[in-house]
């Protein structure tokens, strides 16, 4: 394995590493406190165990939810701005064609998908663009069910309060599903965890 000697590009720039961990903390807080809110009136035939919720009851869950909301909002705005203006989205996140996706999914399922720090394969691009889109929809539906009158146009766009609430819940499930896959892949490639903390150099492209 060779490393680029003169480029010395970090696999993940410092800004991305900071925004990743701030966002991760905010999303986890939002999700666990959201479970406490969900449990007060479950829309699906299950509840989350109380020990897994943040706050433990509805009022505290909401307090956590509307506190972490500001962190997620600020982090999300910063990340979206950075992603657009630095070329990060175009270069790293934008999904590639179906053929590359089919190839990489096949390779991943047979545990032959190589991973080079600093380069995003088709599976990663799909997962990351998917979770970014899910988070955007989760924030938008969240705002619409927080203020269905003041942001009536937004609630109307999503089909009214009950539908927006259902979409908000669906986005949580998407994000939770992403987290399971994401953490499993990090466990398979522990170096990626290091690269999201320390400025490891990017590896050469495949």
């Amino acid at each position: 394995m060779t490393r680029s000697r003169n480029g010395a590009r970090a696999a993940h720039p410092l800004a991305v590493r900071i925004m990743h961990w701030v966002g991760a903390a905010a999303v986890i807080t939002m999700m666990l406190s959201g479970w406490a809110i969900y449990n007060a009136s479950p829309a699906l035939p299950f509840t989350f165990p109380r020990w897994a919720t943040l706050g433990g009851w509805l009022g505290a869950g909401i307090a956590w939810h509307i506190s972490a909301m500001w962190v997620l909002f600020a982090d999300g705005i910063a990340y979206l701005g950075y992603g657009v203006f630095s070329g990060h989205f175009r270069r790293d996140i934008r999904p590639v064609g179906m053929r590359a996706l089919a190839r990489d999914v096949g390779a991943a399922l047979s545990f032959r998908l190589g991973h080079r720090l600093g380069h995003y394969n088709a599976v990663q691009r799909l997962l990351y663009s998917g979770v970014i889109a899910s988070l955007c929809v989760a924030v938008a539906t969240g705002l619409s069910i927080w203020k269905p009158v003041q942001f009536g146009w937004l609630a109307g766009f999503f089909g009214g309060y009950p539908v927006a609430r259902g979409i908000h819940l669906a986005m949580m499930l998407c994000i939770a599903g992403f987290l399971v896959v994401h953490l499993a892949l990090v466990a398979l490639f522990p170096r990626t965890l290091v690269s999201m903390v320390a400025p490891l150099e990017a590896e050469d492209a495949p």
């Binding site: 020990w51 706050g55 009022g59 009214g160």
Partner: protein, 254 residues
């Protein structure tokens, strides 16, 4: 010599009952074991303690009140619906089960207090003589569920002007004969869809729906629409409410 205990058992009985309902007593913690949830309770991040985390959460709730007040506009109306959209059956909700609903006291009158010019109390007949407004709006519970109902009664802004209320006061506080209480900001009290409801689903209110008169405020979460009113006070003193004291967001606008 044994001194009197500083706190008598009877005085803290309601608090103990409340903690018991929420599973916060030591026996509940022990039964549940040292799970993550009880760990969270022990470290105080559920608004019930004096921990630093809880203090920070309360600060965020106050901050959220100010943000919501800034977002609020009396020009924006809650969506209204056709009669066919009314939810049937309508779900009962209170801080007690339906069998504990109290009948209207025989000598009931709505009292007004605080920064008002005219303090005479109000009978239902006198309230019905004021201009009435009907609405079919969505009642959104803080728990997330919602339902559509029909209410009609006296717009609160008309009532407040009729009693000569100080409309620059900060709060309107509501007390109920079932022990419930809450308070709202003056801007929301003057919203055109905020009414003192006398009818529910085209019939005079019955006790489970808040007879003889209740607040119906579709620009706030359901728990703000206090039922079974006893008194209305116009005041500059923050009084919170039954749920707000435990940690529900005070402004709770929608």
């Amino acid at each position: 010599m044994i001194r009197d205990p500083a706190v008598k058992a009877a005085e803290i009985a309601p608090e103990l009952a409340r903690l018991g309902r929420r599973g916060l007593l030591r026996r509940d913690l022990l039964r549940r074991g040292l799970s993550l949830g009880s760990l969270a309770l022990l470290t105080g991040c559920d608004l019930s303690s004096h921990s630093g985390i809880d203090a920070a959460l309360w600060t965020m709730l106050r901050f959220d009140d100010r943000v919501q007040a800034a977002l609020f506009s009396d020009k924006r109306l809650a969506e209204t619906y056709p009669a066919s959209a009314v939810t049937k059956p309508f779900r009962f909700n209170a801080y007690y089960p339906i069998w504990q609903v109290q009948p209207v006291p025989p000598d009931w009158r709505l009292a007004v207090a605080g920064r008002v010019a005219e303090r005479t109390s109000w009978s239902v007949a006198r309230l019905r003589a004021l201009p009435q407004q009907a609405q079919i709006t969505r009642h959104i519970c803080i728990e997330g569920w919602s339902q559509i109902g029909q209410w009609s009664g006296v717009p609160l802004h008309i009532f407040l002007r009729r009693i000569g209320a100080d409309l620059r006061a900060r709060y309107v506080a509501f007390r109920c004969f079932d022990g419930y209480y809450t308070s709202i900001d003056m801007a929301s009290a003057l919203h055109p869809q905020t009414i003192l409801a006398l009818d529910f689903n085209w019939q005079p209110l019955t006790p489970e729906w808040g007879a003889p008169v209740r607040l119906r405020i579709p620009v706030k979460l359901g728990f703000k629409s206090a039922k079974s009113l006893q008194s209305i006070e116009v005041t500059n003193r923050y009084q919170g409410g039954y749920w707000e004291k435990q940690g529900y967001n005070w402004f709770s606008g929608v």
